[in-house]
Symmetry: C2
Amino acid sequence: MPPEVLILSARAADYARLLAAMPLPPLALHAAATSDEAEPWLASCEVVLADPPLVRPLLDRMAALRWLQSTYAGVETLTAPGLRRDYLLTNARGVFGELMAEYVLGYVIMHERRGWQRFLAQRAGRWDATWPGRLRGKTLGLVGVGSIGAEIARTAKCFRLRVLGYTRASEDCPHVDRYFHGDALVDMAAACDYLVASLPNTPASRHLIDRAVLAALPAHALLVNVGRGSTVDEEALVEALQTGRIAGAVLDVFQTEPLPADHPLWKLPNVLITSHTSALSYPEDIAPLFAENLQRYISGQELHYHVDFARGY
Amino acid sequence: MPPEVLILSARAADYARLLAAMPLPPLALHAAATSDEAEPWLASCEVVLADPPLVRPLLDRMAALRWLQSTYAGVETLTAPGLRRDYLLTNARGVFGELMAEYVLGYVIMHERRGWQRFLAQRAGRWDATWPGRLRGKTLGLVGVGSIGAEIARTAKCFRLRVLGYTRASEDCPHVDRYFHGDALVDMAAACDYLVASLPNTPASRHLIDRAVLAALPAHALLVNVGRGSTVDEEALVEALQTGRIAGAVLDVFQTEPLPADHPLWKLPNVLITSHTSALSYPEDIAPLFAENLQRYISGQELHYHVDFARGY
């Protein structure tokens, strides 16, 4: 009997189309874009490919669930305390680094080039020939050097940036010039023109970028957060930005999303808000990854991208 | 007798400071930021390091001039018909590619990411989670593959773009996947997501990007011009942008600069204007290049970056 597979994603139709075109073993495949659409298959599905926020409220009703493949990298919705952990959870990895690297380098360049100031000058019909900044000689510090950080490092090296990396212990990315661990995040921050966080939401990453780290950054520094909002002490960040303690921030993620309408970050002139779009899960990236894991599942091999519920990633 | 050297540049003080810190033979070095300041040395200077627009009106009074090193890459101000040609002219090369590559990739990424739309959404306090585009699978076509085009090609390859190149005849950049020559610019344009011009202002480049080339571009294509305004038929471009024939343009250079206040390009919503700042002449880049040429001049060696007055570059 082929396993019963439920696709539960806002982009379910795209996933169904992409998977149908792949050479997979026979499957009972059901596609649902909403919980209502998923209703008929909740009790019987053994394998689920799902957007975490969509699947979470339905978890307890999936009696036959053995394996859940998340379409997202971040699975804190599913590893939160109190939720069931009696199934295999895998997330998406290795496909977001490229998108994140485009985002980080694009925004860092625009920061140097004063792209937004020039854009406003244009709207005022003003020829703004002020000198732009440049990447030469600058230092980019990565808070977290997983597969995403490593791809940002590789791309930063193409622009000849110096790259620093803060990790728990690992030192295996060849594009990082110098590593920092433990209490040394403040030391790394002090040496950075750009500080880029790409950490998942875990107990260990919570408020890692705190008042002390923000205080250690040079006044011209730019903070970029493409990981999770919880990494940054938002109150301390607002203060650092309001007082000009740092030059600016490019923020894709926030403590609360969507960012509440009355949040002070909306109105700060040195903040760019990109509404959690830095690296979305494109079905054309995720479907092949799921298909490979599905082959492994069916043939009894160990799955890729296994998530440790306790660690949270 | 050491040669008498005049620095005539808006950034003359920076040049004087940088050159003073270099191990050069004894020199009679004069720094002037304006023509008035240059007055005492006009007749006697043998070597001139100058911003072309500043030096042009003074050329005829430089009786002892033997070599002029331009601080700019573009020297059409000095090669125009009717001006004296009885001296060695060298321009700045090899230092602009890096800046141009930052510019081109930064703006191409922002185009895909809808950076300006998101910026405006933020000002309206709106969480804009629309899906961004990405570079994967895209094609960038270079009109001109000199030292600048080659560096843009190298950087584009870091982002895994397909790179096409239109040149007169040369095919020596290893980062170009396919070359086009002669009448084939329209064929290249038809295959491009981004068309990037980096040509000098010469008779051969005038209106190379004309109505036919713009018509050949796909509707979603972006035109980027970091070379000279004369390369593009501006009237045809305005029409292509007004009618949505192409998606947009990022323009650093124009037929007339500063762009006249009543020019239609100012008001088009799919145009970004960057006021000829894509690659300025940073004294820290130009001073070493001049110093090396100066050593060669003094020791009687051939100079680097010799400009052919007839060809214009």
